[in-house]
């Protein structure tokens, strides 16, 4: 091949579009021709540049899940159809009932192999003694960097997501033994919340529709389902119970206040400014919604707008906004955002703005706000915005406060569960070997943490 012929093929060579014989001929020429080689180098640089500039469309976790669920639903349905056909017309109705019963009971019975028996303690730890484990419960859903698979502890029950044959279900686990009390048959993608009588979760049974489902906390039976159409699952967040009678939910750009007993909408309020998703929090009689650059306060009784305030900084540029409230101070950040804003809800003005390296999780308490994002945990004075301390922390889990200790999981190396003094940021204890993206929960002498392998650990410990 001469230079002219090779140059006609060079683009296809670097795009890997030549047949093996053509490729070999072009390569043979390149080996002896610096000029054509230089041209090939130019093309390869261009490809590198395109790869650096463009990102492939990465499917989100919700899309993967919904495809998986849809596939399993469809396969189950077609198996049933096939069985019905085989059973013959005469026996079809009886056979169908049996098949259906067996199929459904599989959803409601726990897999005996999935509950790991209690173990005494502890893998060997080099530095710090690990508390005795009362029990372990395996099979919980744990996905990195997801806020949808958290677990809740209410009195003597833990609510969590469990992987099931057809997707994920909410399960209730006994805090004393780690045994599954019930597993709901409702397919859900998580975002759990509870109000003491019901546990709420989100479900998506058809494209561009998200349902808020209420389950009976004592049985797992679905009580009601409220659907919001025209949105993607990533545009809905966990429900926010206001009290035992009312639950707020933001879906797309609409805030719904629902009767917690019936699931009927008491009111719905669309935020006109657009831009999704929104974040929601509540304080006394007002619901605070942030989205589209606006902070809006809604009267919980009527849904009417009490006031609306634009923030002087583009918080949402960093992804989904996060809100936290303590007293009259409302704090706003976003997953990967560079700003933390403090807002005085009484004076209705921005108190301060501070640069932060991401604000995936906020925790406001008393006169302080704690931010987790980027590569650390940072504390600020809630009133002045003065930074009080900062600690490096790898990972994505939320922070929790228990008995005057700020707790979080650090996933660096083998992982650690860390507790610090919230005033000084000084570490008071840690448990090594805990890799988790979830929040640590403490109740009645037991600490609960779900590790990245989907195992919930119940650790006997005294934080008093």
């Amino acid at each position: 091949m001469n230079c002219q012929q090779v140059r006609e093929e060079l683009e296809l060579l670097v795009l890997d579009g030549l047949e093996p014989r053509e490729k070999a001929a072009v390569r043979a020429h390149l080996a002896s021709c610096p000029s054509c080689r230089a041209m090939e180098g130019e093309y390869r640089e261009l490809i590198d540049r395109v790869q650096a500039e463009e990102r492939p469309e990465e499917p989100g976790r919700e899309l993967r899940q919904s495809i998986g669920w849809a596939a399993r639903r469809e396969l189950t349905a077609s198996r049933r159809r096939a069985r019905l056909l085989r059973a013959g017309l005469a026996a079809a109705s009886i056979a169908a009932l049996l098949v259906l019963t067996v199929g459904l009971s599989g959803l409601w019975h726990r897999d005996p192999a999935s509950d790991v028996p209690p173990t005494a303690a502890a893998e060997a730890e080099p530095d710090v003694e690990r508390p005795a484990e009362r029990w372990q419960h395996a099979g919980a859903q744990a996905a990195r960097a997801s806020s949808a698979d958290e677990m809740l502890v209410r009195c003597d029950t833990i609510f969590l997501l469990r992987l099931a044959e057809f997707g994920s279900n909410v399960a209730a686990v006994d805090t004393a033994t780690g045994a599954t009390r019930w597993q709901s048959g409702v397919l859900t993608f998580g975002h759990l919340a509870d109000d003491g009588e019901r546990v709420f979760c989100l479900s998506s049974t058809r494209p561009r529709q998200v349902d808020l489902v209420a389950l009976d906390e004592s049985t797992g039976e679905p009580l009601w389902r409220f659907s919001h159409r025209g949105i993607h699952p990533s545009h809905a967040a966990a429900a926010l119970p206001i009290d035992s009678d009312r639950v707020a939910w933001v879906a797309g750009d609409t805030v719904h206040l629902l009767d917690a007993h019936s699931g009927d909408a008491m009111w719905s309020h669309r935020i006109e400014e657009g831009g999704t998703p929104f974040a929601l929090t509540a304080n006394r009689d007002l619901l605070y919604v942030f989205g589209g650059g606006m902070l809006t306060a809604l009267d919980t009784r009527s849904g009417e707008e009490a006031w609306q305030q634009a923030l002087p900084v583009d918080i949402e540029q960093g992804g989904r906004p996060t809100l936290a409230i303590a007293g009259r101070h409302l704090f706003i950040s976003s997953e990967r955002g560079g700003q933390l804003a403090a807002f005085d809800t009484s004076a209705r003005r921005v108190l301060w703005l501070r640069p932060v390296d991401g604000g995936r999780h906020l925790l406001a308490h008393s006169d302080a706000v704690y931010v987790r994002g980027g590569d650390g945990v940072r504390a600020f004075d809630g009133a002045t915005g003065d930074p009080t301390w900062a600690r490096p922390a790898t990972g994505c889990g939320p922070m929790t406060l228990h008995h005057g200790r700020l707790c979080y999981a650090d996933t660096a190396d083998q992982g650690r569960l860390v507790a610090v003094d919230p005033t000084t940021g000084v570490e008071t204890w840690h448990i090594a070997g805990v890799r988790s993206c979830d929040g640590f929960i403490y109740a009645e002498g037991v600490g609960y943490i779900k590790t990245q392998d989907g195992v919930v650990h119940a650790l006997a410990m005294d934080l008093h």
Partner: protein, 172 residues
């Protein structure tokens, strides 16, 4: 796909979905220019794979069959979108209203910021799928409903054009 077809094996389907979900999203985005609509289309396409699995010929490659399903779904969506827009405009004209763009409508790109943005739609589509999604030319041809030769030609022409653009940018 053959394993899934023979045994209705959900894990085989998961593996198939994992392999094709990202390029499928890329193809749907090329056609629909809207992330949410593209995700819906991809989900529908995988559902059709399941429902029509008996129609799949295991002697043939899976990609062309899959992309033809996806393309049809995207075309349906485009037709529906166009009908809805026409109806909206007709209603607006009747009532003397101004049609406000749909909040869900795709946002325009910023032209000229990136290298591929400086190419025409056809060449950009091929190069994006080849370079960014690492799709083979036969798969690209199937996804865009063009011949294998046309896919290669567009890729070749696009890359040549990019080289010209890059060189003239260096000169200027």
């Amino acid at each position: 796909m053959a394993r899934f077809q023979r045994h209705d094996d959900a894990e085989a389907f998961d593996a198939l979905a994992e392999e094709f979900i990202s390029p499928a999203l890329g193809v749907a985005m090329q056609m629909l220019k809207d992330r949410a609509a593209a995700e819906d289309a991809v989900q529908d396409a995988f559902l059709r794979v399941i429902r029509k699995r008996d129609q799949y010929d295991p002697a043939r490659p899976f990609a062309p069959w899959f992309y033809s399903l996806l393309r049809n779904i995207c075309r349906d969506k485009l037709r529906r979108r166009s009908r809805e827009q026409t109806a909206l405009e007709a209603e607006a004209a009747e009532r003397d209203l101004v049609v406000v763009p749909d909040a869900d409508a795709p946002e325009p790109d910023f032209p000229g910021l990136r290298l591929l943005d400086q190419l025409g739609e056809k060449e950009r589509a091929v190069l994006r799928l080849r370079i960014v999604h690492d799709m083979s030319f036969p798969d690209i041809a199937a996804a865009l409903d063009i011949s294998h030769a046309a896919a290669k030609k567009r890729g070749q022409r696009g890359l040549r054009r990019l080289r010209g653009i890059a060189r003239s940018a260096r000169v200027s």
